[in-house]
């Protein structure tokens, strides 16, 4: 009986350890699945953070471009909105390559219902009352092919700068109209300049006062010419200094130069 007991004990040992090994294999297999899931989650986190960073960087680069465009020109007082739309539409798109690649562009308007804010670009995040509002379109894509993880996103965000071009254009157009009225009211003495000068001085001081009340700077200048016919030339400029831009404060300007006929 002794040899049989020995064989039975060996077989029992083999059976017990086989069960343990199978159980361990199941645990290890589950753990490997867990590892794979953890690696995928890590890859998704990596792509998400890179994407978020790139989304903000591209938006900031576009706001830099917008600042350059707005600070480098004076927009016309009449038709300023169309001129701003054209300036925004002409801004080049920006692109970036890397683990996550992306492209972004600005659009002056269009009523995109799905547009939301972009908190990383505070203080340009969202729209501001009376400010320069734009839509920011951004597309991002990236992947970790070895793990079968991909990231793709297309977003529309609302961004703005507190350049109050509309308010400035309204003041400017009012001043041009006041100058036109001054020329028209000068009557037959218009071309000698004395009557016009007094009326223009009143229009100018009124413009200065209104602009200062709203935090703007303003200037009104004029010239008269008698030949070949009697007419006046008026130049009105309104500016807003200290507009906050991504590259620092800058000045936004609107300006109108108009030729105005004088009464005979």
């Amino acid at each position: 009986m002794a040899p049989r007991r020995g064989i039975a004990a060996t077989l029992a040992t083999a059976a017990v350890f086989s069960v343990l090994l199978v159980a361990n294999a199941l645990v290890v297999s589950g753990s490997q699945q867990g590892d794979l899931m953890a690696a995928k989650a890590d890859a998704e986190s990596y792509l998400w953070v890179r994407g978020t960073s790139l989304e903000g960087s591209l938006g900031l680069a576009l706001m830099d471009e917008l600042q350059s465009a707005v600070s480098s020109q004076a927009f016309p007082c009449s038709g300023w909105a169309a001129a701003v739309q054209e300036a925004v539409a002409n801004l080049p798109a920006v692109r970036a390559a890397g683990p996550v690649s992306g492209s972004g562009s600005l659009s002056p308007g269009g009523g995109y219902e799905t547009a939301d804010n972009l908190s990383s670009l505070e203080p340009f995040n969202g729209w501001s009352a009376g400010g320069l509002d734009v839509y920011y379109f951004v597309s991002l894509s990236g992947a970790v092919p070895s793990l079968g993880v991909a990231f793709r996103a297309s977003q529309v965000h609302r961004l703005s700068m507190e350049a109050e071009l509309g308010q400035m254009a309204q003041l400017c157009s009012g001043a041009v109209a006041a100058a036109a009225a001054a020329f028209a009211g000068a009557g037959a003495d218009a071309c000698n300049g004395t009557a016009v000068a007094a009326a223009i001085a009143r229009a100018s001081s009124s413009l200065d006062a209104r602009a200062a009340a709203e935090g703007f700077g303003a200037g009104l200048s004029y010239a008269l010419s008698a030949s070949p016919r009697c007419e006046g030339q008026v130049d009105v400029a309104v500016s807003q200094a200290g507009v906050q831009g991504p590259e620092g404060p800058f000045t936004a300007r609107v300006e109108e130069e108009a030729s105005l006929p004088l009464s005979p």
Partner: protein, 120 residues
């Protein structure tokens, strides 16, 4: 015969124990834990993009940025940066979960790094 039985059973038992020990899942649990901590470091770094925000990071002088990052650091997370050629803060210790983001601003490149000292 009895000696042979004992020898076979012993070899079987020892090799099985060795196999169980070698095939244990503890190592992979450790790797998954490190990945989670690295993701946590990455999330904390992402938080800097919102507060203080990208605009501040672009405009702030290097010294001011270093001071801000030092004030945001604590016993659980350490933020450092390289602004252009200036580096503030040391490199993460070996083995510490860390993350980095490079921001390519027009004036200079800013690389933000954070690491979790408690997990090193």
């Amino acid at each position: 015969m009895r000696f042979l039985d004992i020898a076979v059973a012993a070899v079987l038992g020892l090799s099985s124990v060795a196999l169980l020990a070698a095939w244990a899942p503890f190592g992979s649990d450790l790797a998954a834990s490190q990945l989670r901590e690295q993701a946590s470091a990455r999330d904390r770094l992402e938080g800097l993009l919102t507060d203080p925000g990208l605009v501040w990071l672009q405009q702030a002088p290097p010294g001011e940025m270093c001071s801000e990052l030092a004030s945001l650091s604590n016993s659980t997370v350490v933020f450092t940066a390289t602004v252009g050629t200036l580096r503030c803060g040391g490199a993460p210790p070996a083995g510490a979960p860390s993350a980095n983001i490079t921001l390519d601003f027009p004036a200079e490149e800013v690389t933000l790094v954070d690491w979790l000292p408690g997990a090193a």
